[in-house]
Structures are given as structure tokens and as C-alpha cells.
């Protein structure tokens, strides 16, 4: 099915470990985003990309890194995991600045627990 695919769906990390959350889209969208959502809270932007090779920080980038080597993929790297990074992570994409009619297309999320 066309859309945004995130892997893994669930992960438990120990403090200090690192991991990469994968995100891929097959809609040829230029814009891609990483959000985190804490329980009962809204979506906070971590990083975003407006095209291959171009990334920029969002509201809460500390502790994360991204890269965008292709249009399709936008992985999120967590270095030295901390309990504060326990959250649900959503990747999203859009065809232009906001995809005026449809906003973003979201993946199903990665639930990360740091213990």
C-alpha cells in the first residue's frame, strides 16, 4: 500500500544505547518530518527535510540526528538514549509545503521505551 512506512513498531532500549528509526515513503514527496508524541500531548517536531540532502531542526532536536540521502528515506538516529526519549515517534511526508489539500501523510508510529 502506498504511504509512509515506519520500522520498528516497538522497541525497548537501555540507557546509553543508540538506534535508528526507519521511515520510508513511496509517494515521491519532497517534504518529510519526524514528530514525537508524549502521552496526552500533541505532536512536537524533531527534524524535517525539504528534499534529499536538506534537513533542518524542529522544536525538540536535542539527542537526535537525521539524514536524507534519498527522496524516499528519512531515518532518525538516537544517540545515547535517555529515559526522556521514551515516546511515540511519527514520521510524516507531504508533497509540498503542507500539501495544501491533505496536510501530511503519517506513518503508524514507533513506540520507544528507554529503561
Amino acid at each position: 500500500n502506498a504511504g509512509v512506512t515506519q520500522t520498528p513498531k516497538f522497541r525497548i532500549l537501555k540507557i546509553g544505547q543508540s538506534m535508528t528509526l526507519q521511515c520510508a515513503q513511496d509517494m515521491n514527496h519532497n517534504y518529510m518530518y519526524w514528530y514525537r508524541q508524549d502521552p496526552g500531548m500533541g505532536l512536537k517536531l524533531i527534524y524535517y527535510s525539504v528534499g534529499a540532502g536538506i534537513t533542518d531542526k524542529g522544536e525538540v532536536p536535542n539527542g537526535y540526528n537525521v539524514s536524507r540521502s534519498t527522496t524516499e528515506d528519512f531515518p532518525l538516529r538516537l544517540e545515547l538514549a535517555a529515559p526522556s526519549q521514551t515516546s511515540v515517534y511519527f514520521c510524516a511526508s507531504s508533497g509540498d509545503r503542507g500539501q495544501a489539500n491533505y496536510g501530511y501523510t503519517f506513518g503508524s508510529g514507533t513506540r520507544l521505551t528507554v529503561v
Binding site: G40, L43, Y48, R97, A100, Y102, G103, F106
Partner: protein, 110 residues
């Protein structure tokens, strides 16, 4: 700085009891206001985009309206399957991303 405030945080309705959710926003220029539905354990799902004050859009039991300072999501005769978190987001004309509110968690009891 863009601000989006949703109220109430949580709303519990009986089946058939109509109500409205509010989204207040502050932006220098609005390109679009978006409503999303989010079910537990899933990503947000697009519902509506509104572009200018006075605009209205409908989908089944949902109707979204927009003024210069806020948007309402009206739910008419809700059913239990309408239970979800409803998220509002704004897109500023000079911006490059959506700014989300914290959502309203709606529960409809049979």
C-alpha cells in the same frame, strides 16, 4: 511564534449528544488549518483543510468551521465509533511545517 490551543482537553458524550471542539490559533498569516483524527496506537488521519474565514467543510457527522481566530469541529449525533483524539494544526504562509495543538480526546458512550 505560532500557537494552537485546543479545548476541552477531554470530552465525554452520550451517543446522539451533539457538541463542538474548539481550536484557537495565533499566526501571522494562515495558509491552512487542518483537522486530524487519531485513534489509539495509530498515526493521525487527515479530516479537513480550511483556508479562509467563513469556510465550512462536512464529512458524515463532522463539520468544521473557521473564523479569523478559531476553528470549531461540530459533531452531530455522535456514535461510539467517533471516539478518538482530534488534532488541530495550522500552516503559516511563511512557514514550512504544521504546528499542532495538543488535541481533544473524545469519548462517545453507547
Amino acid at each position: 511564534e505560532d500557537q494552537v490551543t485546543q479545548s476541552p482537553e477531554a470530552l465525554r458524550l452520550q451517543e446522539g449528544e451533539s457538541s463542538s471542539l474548539n481550536c484557537s490559533y495565533t499566526v501571522s498569516g494562515l495558509r491552512g488549518l487542518f483537522w486530524y483524527r487519531q485513534d489509539p496506537g495509530k498515526g493521525p488521519e487527515f479530516l479537513f483543510t480550511l483556508y479562509s474565514a467563513g469556510e465550512e467543510k462536512e464529512k458524515e457527522r463532522l463539520k468544521a468551521t473557521l473564523t479569523k481566530k478559531e476553528s470549531f469541529l461540530h459533531i452531530t449525533a455522535p456514535k461510539p465509533e467517533d471516539s478518538a483524539t482530534y488534532l488541530c494544526a495550522v500552516y503559516e504562509t511563511s512557514g514550512s511545517r504544521l504546528t499542532f495543538g495538543e488535541g481533544t480526546q473524545l469519548t462517545v458512550n453507547p
